[in-house]
């Protein structure tokens, strides 16, 4: 994987042509599924698709066009990271295509130009429900992955503050609560994503889990992660330890093998400072501060380390006790969260504009997703615009049964 990327940087033109052919062959397999429009084209580029598959080279020229996630990347990078509807779409269309949109491009340009010797910049993607915050985040993450960063991706922080079946009092600290299932699940996914880093990073401290188990200093991170996966009881603490290690070592060594940049991506970051719906044994509500996972994440959000970036997205859909019309950062994060996150770079995500809507519509037509004959006409398109108001998620749900 690394070699491929390296070669692409050295001789871009050759490998782009190589990629062209590669895409063409895979495209032809896919085009045997699609009947009319795509098969007649001699070049695989339709108006809404771009051949540029590397997010590092995406710019305004490709704005509004779809690019494909390579399937290998999807499996590695997003074992749990993509929204469920998008995963269904990948399964249906046999490919994961994401539209290149201005918010994501903005984010990537910031990432390219940031100085990584300084503390990390915090980026907050905000916008109305269904405008594409999570997918923009995934796009930026894909860029980080292709650049070889270490990814810490929490797909939805809301899942950690609600519907937890097992809430154990923490083994290490008396006033905290552990969530073993969520923690071990996350550790498993983390392992899949960052396979190649796990052997390179070493622990800097000795961690004692129980009377008989401990992890010595200088052990590879992989062991730490395995410890958490196997021993569910201490998995939340392992998460905390992992995060701490990564923070300490992120920008520390700038040359040599241990150099890596850390990308912390949290979706639904407003869960960290909102309310939970979990109850303690005496039937009182848990504060988010009392959950180990949340506590550690909050520490991560502080910019007292260097050598990485913090990408976050707000989400009203999964959040508890927030009104449906709230979408601005100060409404969703609350006072505490806002103070904690400040200063941050806000990136606003909005509905599709004309060109993007056109592109999305053509994509669905190409994939034969719009079955109704009326939807192919001008009238049908106008109806779609009206009914969805060019909101991506609503358009997707609308087209699902057309």
């Amino acid at each position: 994987m690394n070699l491929h990327k390296l070669s692409s940087r050295l001789c871009p033109t050759v490998t782009q042509k190589f990629r062209h052919l590669h895409i063409q062959s895979s495209g032809q397999q896919l085009e045997s599924v699609a009947v009319e429009t795509a098969s007649a084209e001699p070049n695989p580029l339709s108006v809404f698709r771009t051949s540029e598959q590397d997010p590092a080279y995406h710019s305004e020229r490709q704005s509004g066009q779809y690019y494909t996630f390579p399937p290998a990347h999807i499996q590695k990078l997003f074992p749990h990271g993509l929204p469920p509807r998008f995963q269904l779409q990948i399964k249906t269309f046999n490919e994961g295509c994401v539209m290149v949109r201005p918010p994501a491009l903005e984010l990537i340009s910031y990432l390219k130009r940031a100085d990584y010797s300084k503390p990390p910049l915090r980026y907050v993607l905000y916008g109305d429900t269904g405008t594409g915050k999570t997918l923009s985040l995934c796009h930026a993450l894909h860029y980080c992955y292709t650049q070889g960063w270490l990814i810490v991706h929490i797909p939805d922080a809301h899942l950690w503050v609600k519907n937890c079946k097992e809430l154990l009092p923490s083994s290490s600290r008396p006033s905290r609560f552990d969530q073993p299932i969520q923690a071990s699940h996350w550790l498993k996914n983390f392992k899949i994503t960052n396979e190649h880093f796990l052997s390179k990073i070493k622990t800097t401290q000795r961690y004692v889990w129980t009377k008989r188990e401990s992890t010595e200093m200088g052990q590879p991170l992989g062991e730490l992660v395995d410890q958490g996966v196997n021993r569910m009881k201490s998995s939340s603490d392992v998460v905390g330890a992992v995060l701490r290690e990564l923070r300490l070592q992120a920008g520390g060594i700038t040359e040599g093998e241990g150099a890596f940049k850390l990308a912390v991506a949290v979706d639904g970051v407003n869960a960290l400072w909102g309310k939970t719906s979990l109850k303690k044994e005496d039937r009182t509500l848990c504060e988010p501060e009392e959950l180990t996972l949340i506590h550690n994440l909050r520490k991560m959000m502080k910019n007292n380390w260097s050598g990485g970036a913090i990408l976050t997205a707000l989400s009203q859909t999964g959040s508890l006790f927030t009104p449906r019309s709230a979408y601005l950062p100060n409404e969703l994060l609350g006072e505490e969260g806002f103070d904690h996150m400040e200063p941050f770079v806000p990136v606003s995500v909005s509905n599709y504009d004309e060109k993007e809507f056109e592109s999305c519509y053509l994509y669905y037509l190409d994939r034969n997703w719009l079955q109704h004959p009326h939807s192919r006409s001008e009238e049908g398109k106008k109806e779609l615009i009206f009914l969805s108001n060019k909101n991506p998620s609503i358009l997707e749900r609308l087209c699902a049964f057309l």
Partner: protein, 385 residues
Amino acid sequence: MAASSCRGVRSILWKYGSCGKNLCVSRSKTIPQLPVRQICVSSSLWKKNLAAAGPQKFTQEFIDKQVEEFEVGKRHLANMMGEDPETFTQEDIDRSIAYLFPSGLFEKRARPVMKHPEEIFPKQTAIQWDAVGRPFHFLFYTGKQSYYSLLHDVYEKILAIERHQDKMRSKGLFTSDTKQIVLTGSRWLLKEEMEEYLVENVSDQDFMRFVQLMEKLLSMPYCSLEEEFILKFRKQLEVQSSKHEIPALQYDPQGVAFSVAEGRRKTAKATITLRDSGSGNFTINGRNYLHYFPLLQDREQLMFPLHFVGMLSRFDLEGSVEGSGHSAQAGALRLAISRALLSFVSEGEVEKMRQAGLLTADPRIKERKKPGQEGARKKFTWKKR
């Protein structure tokens, strides 16, 4: 006792003729003490057999007297109201009665009314036979004399037209393209209207027979000779769409045309301002319509009038709505949008919209809960014993 026996006797006497009434009265006055032997009668005799009597018969003198009284009463009323008795119309009468006798009754037909006796007393047939018992009309024994005489007349006219046709043919002046009677915009009288015209019951088959005969008359080339007769049995249809008020088209300071309209559905009231700016923005109660109506069905309701006329992305909508639930609010908005669209759209389109049902206000409201029942229709649990 005496009074009751007197009443019983009186009723018997009245049945067989009104001769003995005076005697009865005088007898009761002169000998009140003597016990009169009660003739054994059953109560059914002095209760009137209401069903057998049929509808109440009014004599012609009675009706004439009522008409006279009405005219006099009308002049009195005009004087009371301080208006001119000569030019006092029926509408004035209605207004005055509503003023003098204000009624809170919901049923309009139960309120006090003062109308010409022709409208109040149902039309009745006069006595059909003379003093001997011999009927006047030759078709009396058919049972439906006016109906059959009408059919007879129509057939007479058919024969007359045929004779006319033969005469024209013999002269050599026969042409098929004669003046045709204009029948568009009118319909045949309904069965109820026929019954009212003939003052007797008409069955369905009879009515169909009559209509067939009239059609036959119409099919002949020279039917225009009997145009007046035929038009007596046709009723004009009024053009519905001319009834709608089209809201005025107003202009912004920037020159953008806009119109304002209201709509209602089931306690929900909506007001819409439709602007001809060329974008598809919709704001309802200050919020985006996507937020206000998360349900697809409601947004489809909003889309229907614009989509029907084909002007989906042309308008900018600004609306306020209150009351009832989301579905009723969507319906109210839809009606308001259709009404506002009337000023932007041509006459033919208005008719099409009316036929599509966009301009009709939905009259359905929540049905009243009745006592003795759980709800409007639901009854309490039925127990057999």
